[in-house]
Symmetry: C2
Subunit: 458 residues, 2 copies
């Protein structure tokens, strides 16, 4: 039966590419109101594709922002329920003059389909929709209970996603979430993502005088907010960049040991890393293992911006009245965003020099780290399915960035999220000339067919 489905998908491959191209022609940029028509057309495209895949319930559900598309397959009693996650919105296409072909005119070259959003996330998202259709057409129907939740604000930070999942929680009930979003780490290394860091953001402002003062008249006697702020921020790390805040990571839990194994076997090249980001290689050069550990497993406190006083051209002889810094922390499992922010605030209040005032403002609610249960049956199935297709057992890898959806699904549905995307992180998906390797588009159809079949057998 799986064979028939896979054969059907192979036979329909050219039509599938045409369907993907049609999807990519819709300019669904969620961050820019000028693309409202393209957003609506893309939501309708997804809904229509799901209807044509035989799902009996397909709805475009309004949120406070762009709608989500919710679909439910036929009831398959006694079988587990999988919820497929993806998004139909894309990044803005700017800068347009850097594109070799127009961003919303899909173009194939050397086995790659170039278009804005093709890798993130239209191609990977279309795969399970096409696979569902094949099951319906030649497979005797889907082998399990399948649901889809496709959002339209992922590239805008999913501001309405939490509330949408909460209000739809009964209809979204599932055993596991499979995300069609989330690129594979490296094209040359089979991997499955099992952890991501959390996020806590805050902004710190130091106030000295009530307005900028003349640096000649008052220099030496008046408080200088930039001096105070830089001295305070300099106490947050040691010379190696380790965070020096009491209580910052005291509740952190140890990571999945499999991730440590992945770090050891990934052969991450530290010198090449610094070359790629355009930085001087530090001396001594840290090991690749150390660098990857810092990216994946160690919480951070990074300054995202600093400002104060005069920043225009030339000189302005002022003593800045205030100075601000934006900070984000990436968190590991066990760290609570509010506790981390409170630890930083306590530290900063302690080192605030006399004669200054301090304002600390939390930005957003924060996100706890994501860490998949290493014993989740669906995770082992993902690895089993990918191993023969990719030629090696995938490594369990982490990512340094934050994936808020995992926490949302955990919170409202009690379900873990496995990542099963067939884009890779080198496909320029937030840059000009985004592309998808069509070989992966084809491979993904086989993989999703087998994945659904295997989960159905749990």
């Amino acid at each position: 039966m799986t064979k028939a489905v896979e054969d059907y998908l192979v036979a329909g491959y050219d039509a599938a590419v045409e369907e993907l191209k049609a999807f990519c022609r819709l300019p669904s940029v969620s961050t820019d109101a000028a693309y409202g028509a393209g957003m609506r057309a893309a939501a309708e495209f997804v809904a229509d594709a799901l209807v044509r895949s035989g799902l009996p319930t397909v709805e475009i559900v309004e949120t406070g922002g762009h709608p989500v598309v919710l679909a439910e397959g036929p009831k398959v009693p006694g079988k587990p329920t999988v919820l497929v996650y993806g998004h139909y919105d894309v990044q803005p296409p700017d800068p347009l003059d850097k594109w070799t072909s127009p961003p919303f005119e899909p173009t194939i070259l050397d086995g790659r389909l170039y278009a804005r959003g093709v890798s993130d996330d239209k191609g990977p998202l279309l795969i399970p929709i096409l696979v569902s259709r094949a099951f319906a057409e030649v497979g005797g129907g889907l082998p399990l209970n399948l649901k889809f939740l496709i959002e339209g604000e992922e590239e805008s930070g999913s501001p309405n996603f939490d509330r949408a999942v909460e209000s739809l929680r009964d209809r979204l009930a599932c055993d596991v979430v499979v995300s069609a979003d989330g690129a594979m780490w490296r094209p040359d290394l089979p991997s499955v993502m099992v952890a991501g860091r959390g996020l806590a953001a805050l902004e710190v402002t130091v106030h000295g005088a009530s307005k900028d003062l003349h640096s000649g008249r008052h220099g030496g006697s008046a408080p200088n907010a930039v001096r105070a702020l830089t001295q305070m921020l300099a106490t947050l790390h040691d010379a190696e960049g380790n965070v020096l805040v009491d209580g910052f990571a005291s509740t952190a839990l140890p990571p999945d040991p499999a991730i440590g194994e992945a770090i050891r076997s990934a052969r991450f090249d530290a010198g090449r890393y610094f070359d790629e980001i355009g930085a001087e290689r530090p001396a001594p050069l840290p090991s690749g293992k150390d660098l990857l550990t810092r990216q994946w497993l160690i919480p951070t406190l990074e300054f995202n911006g600093i400002s104060g006083g005069y920043a225009g051209p030339g000189t302005k002889t002022v003593i800045p009245a205030s100075a601000s810094a934006k900070i984000t922390c990436r968190l590991v499992r066990g760290q609570e965003p509010d506790a981390v922010r409170e630890a930083i605030a306590t530290h900063l209040r302690r080192v605030l020099p006399s004669g200054y005032r301090l304002d600390i403002h939390n930005s957003g609610p924060g996100t706890v780290a994501f860490g998949l249960d290493p014993d989740l049956p669906a995770l082992a199935i993902v690895e089993d399915v990918l191993e023969p297709l990719l030629g090696a057992r995938p490594l369990r890898v982490a990512m340094g960035a934050t994936i808020p959806i995992c926490g949302v699904f955990e919170k409202y549905l009690g379900a873990g999220t496995v990542f099963f995307s067939f884009s890779t992180s080198d496909e320029d998906y937030h840059a000009p000339n985004e592309f998808l390797r069509l070989s992966n588009f084809r491979l993904g159809m086989t993989a999703w067919t087998r994945l659904l079949k295997r989960i159905a057998e749990i």
Copy 2:
């Protein structure tokens, strides 16, 4: 003879106020090209007033920017030569809505004349012109050789002044410069300014990666330019704000002891100082003597601005590729601007962490500190003239700010500059509702009459 001149000035006081009002109606804002006509009219007003004061040579001399007005009185053989300095340009009037009366419609209220530029420097500048006229009319002519150099770019940083003085150096030759610009320190405390700090400006930029990076993906492993810069800047001062740069002040000379006496007798109120600038009072509160010493006699290293990464609203999860700080130092006698900057650069290069690049850029040529020869005869004369008029012997005070003209006159004319202005520093001269106390306008005429007479007797 002096009595006749003083009487003539008293009799002509009302007409003098009308002449000042006419001068103040001319909107001579040097920093804004829209005021070109007002600038030209003001230069011509000054030239015309000098002609009417009987100076045989009056010229409007073009510079690269706004012209200077140069005037030379009749030759008085065997008598010293005084060069009067002032400026006919004014600060911009913005914010206009904060003015009680229109800035270029002079208005008298409670013995104060309100107008943009009346205190800085049109009123103080008009006084010696009127005094010259009185000497010509009823005094038998000026008692010494008098020259005027009135510039039009003081409020724009005098970008062409150095070159103008250099090219006119032969015609400007003098024994002493008397500046009609430079407000008296405090309205309640007779003082004469004998020292000002120099200036050295530089800009420091630290570079990490070649562009801003995602703080999730790269956080912990990539260089953060804001972190490096804040750590570096934090090494420039100790916790009390003392500069920690080797060689920064090693060539500094001790100040005129009279300034130390002024600091002791000035009864500077530290608590009130912090209240006035709108800052928290630090604990422990420094003494007023310490604060004034820091403003006048101690070189500074102040951060004028800092920038790097994202400074807009909300959060942007970037690791800044670069971060910059603007620094100005106020210098005391003996410090050379370039040597001070090189000491700072050497320090910063030493503390630059591995993996970052550093750019240091000097802003402008810098200015050495001004310190008047304590034994200059004209200084004692200024004190002798002011003592009976102000009711107390003036204190010899310094100022924290920088007065480039003194260095220029020293360099090209070999002449010291004494300050003899009848505005006071509380007259809102860089703010809305600038005013001049008319009692000081009247007092200034008597004082200038006596000053010129006394210098003629040297």
